[in-house]
């Protein structure tokens, strides 16, 4: 006879930097069912669109999440620009792309570190974060902030980066790439990593599609879908292919992120080679957004959708965000069914949960 036990996981848990709660229904060591409960980080950010005007709101949008901060700011600004019929100048669009990719690298490397920590591979965690810190130095040099960039604004960007600094960035990217290759090899080949991740938390391509998975979770199941293919900012002019893996397990999700870091290095180099000169912003003085807009872009964690509705006033009528973590919770619950209790932290981490994005 078997007994089912309910084991709470979270909200405060050593492997999670953020609070999410799961009730795990266990049959011995096997998870029968997982029930998530959220709301620990809910602030009511979307309603702030009615308090702050649409220019100030860019700062709030950037603080949806501290890891993908820049991309949230970019999504908001591009959505509002679309409503106003304004287009950011080419240099602004290309610099946005560079910053977006820098922030993708730091997010993925940060995740690789946390994943290593969940595997119990402490030294790999420390090395990943050492490399992340090199990326953060570039962020600090180009924007002034370490976490919150604060450079994106409606109509362009706030701060130009001169060519001399871009030259230094290119050189440093080369150095970081060499350093990253070392830890990438460990993630690819080390038996410790493979033992904990291969065949764990399987998600088939059909399930991934049916449950609405996005981002690396979807691509690791062999589905070609990357919102950057829409060609927003400078992505349309760059040469790249979405990265996919076929296996749909934790190892595949790890590999997708490792390979995406490499790809981002490539994209940054391409952008730096072809960086257009010129203005960095267009004036939006006196213009007010009117109408409805839906804007999608690719975050490190997957596709994020912004819905913006405005009626020519200083404040927006409605600002709504659908974040990738929310989309990935349903696939997570599916993956957890039937897994071992000891694998739960690893599986939860492989969707790269960003609770702060999720609950806003």
């Amino acid at each position: 006879m078997s007994n089912t036990t309910i084991v709470p996981f979270g909200p405060q848990h050593p492997v999670l930097p953020e609070p999410i709660h799961l009730d795990l229904e266990l049959d011995d060591e096997r998870v029968v069912r997982a029930l998530p409960s959220i709301g620990y980080v809910h602030r009511g950010l979307e309603l702030l669109a009615e308090r702050y005007d649409f220019i100030e709101m860019a700062n709030v949008a950037e603080r949806i999440c501290g890891i993908c901060s820049f991309i949230h700011g970019q999504g908001y600004c591009q959505g509002v620009e679309q409503l106003m019929g304004v287009e950011a100048p080419p240099r602004a669009a290309w610099l946005r792309t560079v910053w977006g990719e820098i922030s993708r690298i730091q997010s993925h490397v940060l995740w690789l570190g946390l994943a290593a920590d969940a595997l119990g591979y402490e030294s790999l965690f420390q090395h990943s974060w050492r490399i992340r810190e090199m990326m953060v130095d570039i962020i600090e040099e180009t924007t002034g902030g370490r976490v919150i960039f604060g450079v994106c604004k409606v109509g362009g960007i706030r701060k130009n980066v001169d060519d001399e600094t871009l030259g230094r960035v290119r050189q440093r990217i080369g150095e970081i790439r060499v350093a990253f290759d070392e830890i990438a090899t460990i993630f690819r080949e080390d038996p410790t990593v493979r033992q904990r991740t291969v065949g764990v938390g399987l998600l088939s391509a059909a399930d991934a599609r049916a449950l609405g998975a996005v981002g690396p979770v979807l691509r690791a199941s062999g589905v070609v879908h990357d919102t950057r293919q829409l060609g927003y900012a400078a992505y349309g002019a760059l040469e790249w292919e979405p990265i996919i893996e076929q296996d749909g397990d934790c190892y595949a999700r790890c590999l997708v992120r490792v390979r995406e870091v490499d790809q981002s290095f490539d994209l940054i180099t391409q952008c730096l080679d072809r960086m257009p000169a010129g203005e960095i912003e267009v004036s939006v003085k006196g213009k007010r957004p009117t109408g409805e807009a839906m804007f999608r872009l690719e975050q490190p964690r997957g596709e994020v959708c912004y819905y913006i509705s405005a009626s020519g006033k200083k404040n927006l009528d409605r600002f709504r965000v659908r974040t990738p973590t929310f989309a990935n919770i349903a696939p997570l619950i599916h993956m957890l069914g039937g897994c071992e209790l000891a694998d739960v932290p690893v599986i939860v981490l492989t969707i790269d949960p960003c609770v702060s994005c999720n609950e806003r």
Binding site: P11, P17, H42, R43, N59, W129, R130, E133
Partner: protein
């Protein structure tokens, strides 16, 4: 302070933080800043912790968790609020589900400003917390002596 008498273990909880301060806090533990060389360890267990680091403001849901974690920590303990949101609610102070700073529910000893707080200022906050921790330990010792004086040769 010239040297640390104890190796303080810290407990971290993100109340309603945007992650920014949390990753800066984790950055303190990793090679560039490396506070582990001073014996400061991030523990997941409130019963092992001396210093409670809270990021983000409080909402209805996280209030219970924060109070619960604080109650589980053994005395003496120090609370450090990290980041603008933990101080006053920050940019989210007008949001409907935000009560305000951590001091609405816990007695906060050290306030670390910044959005996001930089690792240097977080380390500075922890160093200040250590002084308070040491003072509290001394006070407790003294109080214990007053309550139960040592009886010689009973």
């Amino acid at each position: 302070m010239s040297f640390l008498k104890k190796s303080p273990w810290v407990l971290h909880y993100a109340a309603t933080s945007c992650n920014g301060c949390d990753i800066e806090l984790l950055a303190c533990l990793t090679p560039t800043y490396d506070v582990e060389r001073f014996g400061i360890i991030n523990t997941g267990n409130p019963k092992h912790a001396d210093i409670f680091l809270v990021t983000g403001s409080v909402n209805e849901e996280s209030r219970k968790v924060v109070e619960n974690l604080y109650a589980q920590m053994p005395d003496p303990k120090v609370v450090v609020a990290i980041g603008a949101c933990a101080l006053s609610g920050g940019i989210f102070r007008d949001a409907y589900n935000v009560y305000g700073g951590i001091d609405q529910v816990l007695p906060v000893d050290v306030y670390v400003p910044g959005c996001a707080a930089r690792p240097e200022s977080i380390i500075d906050g922890i160093v200040q917390a250590l002084d308070i921790l040491e003072q509290r330990a001394k006070d407790r010792k003294r109080q214990r002596k007053i309550v139960s004086p040592v009886v010689e040769n009973p």
